[in-house]
């Protein structure tokens, strides 16, 4: 799954003393929890952008678990510890959040859709909803979209992270 250079299918890995963080850029919706919460570790302007030594393991786990997608996930380096992982760790590679795992979510049908305005960032819509876009309609099941709020995205109406390079506040 991973090689020595820290690449794995679809992304990169960052190995710390106790845990390894997996990064899958194609899954990122630019919710920006990671760098707003912990810029010391997750600095998009730095290469490599993840510094596993800049915070405690507990804090890194806490912030990776905030990621609303599977763009950031993590696991213990000690494989034995991955077996009894706490389900609250929603972005552990073993469990991940249920809505990313497909079926088995019928009970959540009547849940209201979550529409989140991110700080100086996009609108993140999550849940079961109908998306209307350019005359098309798409039924989103356990879906998630990230809508641009700064007006500068290169792939409107969706966020492409461009707001970070502008002075967008809102």
């Amino acid at each position: 799954m991973e090689d020595k250079k820290g690449h794995y299918s679809g992304g990169r890995t960052y190995r710390g003393d106790e845990i390894t963080v997996y990064w899958k850029p194609s899954a990122c919706v630019h919710a920006s929890y990671c760098y707003r919460e912990l810029i010391e570790v997750f600095d998009p302007g730095r290469r490599p952008w993840v510094d596993m030594k800049a915070a405690t393991t507990a804090r890194i786990i806490e912030v990776v678990d905030m990621c609303p997608t599977e763009a950031l996930t993590w696991k213990w380096n000690d494989e034995a510890k991955n077996i009894d992982i706490d389900r609250r760790h929603s972005n552990h590679v073993k469990f991940m959040r249920p809505e990313l795992m497909g079926p088995e979510v019928d009970g959540a049908l009547d849940q209201p859709v979550s529409v989140k305005i991110m700080i100086d960032g996009p609108i993140i819509v999550k849940g079961d909803f109908k998306l209307k876009y350019s005359g098309n309609e798409k039924d989103m099941k356990d879906g998630m979209i990230s809508i641009c709020r700064c007006g500068k995205s290169g792939r409107m109406p969706f966020c492409d992270g461009r707001h970070r390079h502008t002075d967008f506040e809102g």
Partner: protein, 63 residues
């Protein structure tokens, strides 16, 4: 009658052409920037970046 109720439950996210994002139905709007949470029947959210009443549209995109 039941169908009517179900229809209202359906949440629609409408990317209007050159306008705001129109969300209707059963949803919770959480504004992390202003630390507000509400559950309106409809929300028109700014997508051009110019509104003065963010996150809502104030028709600045027309100017």
């Amino acid at each position: 009658m039941e169908d009517n109720i179900k229809k209202q439950q359906l949440t629609i996210v409408d990317v209007t052409d050159a306008g705001p994002l129109r969300v209707t139905g059963n949803f919770i709007l959480k504004d992390l920037k202003r630390d507000r949470m509400e559950s309106p029947e409809e929300a028109l959210l700014c997508m051009c970046g110019n509104s003065r009443s963010k996150p809502f549209c104030d028709c600045s995109h027309k100017k």
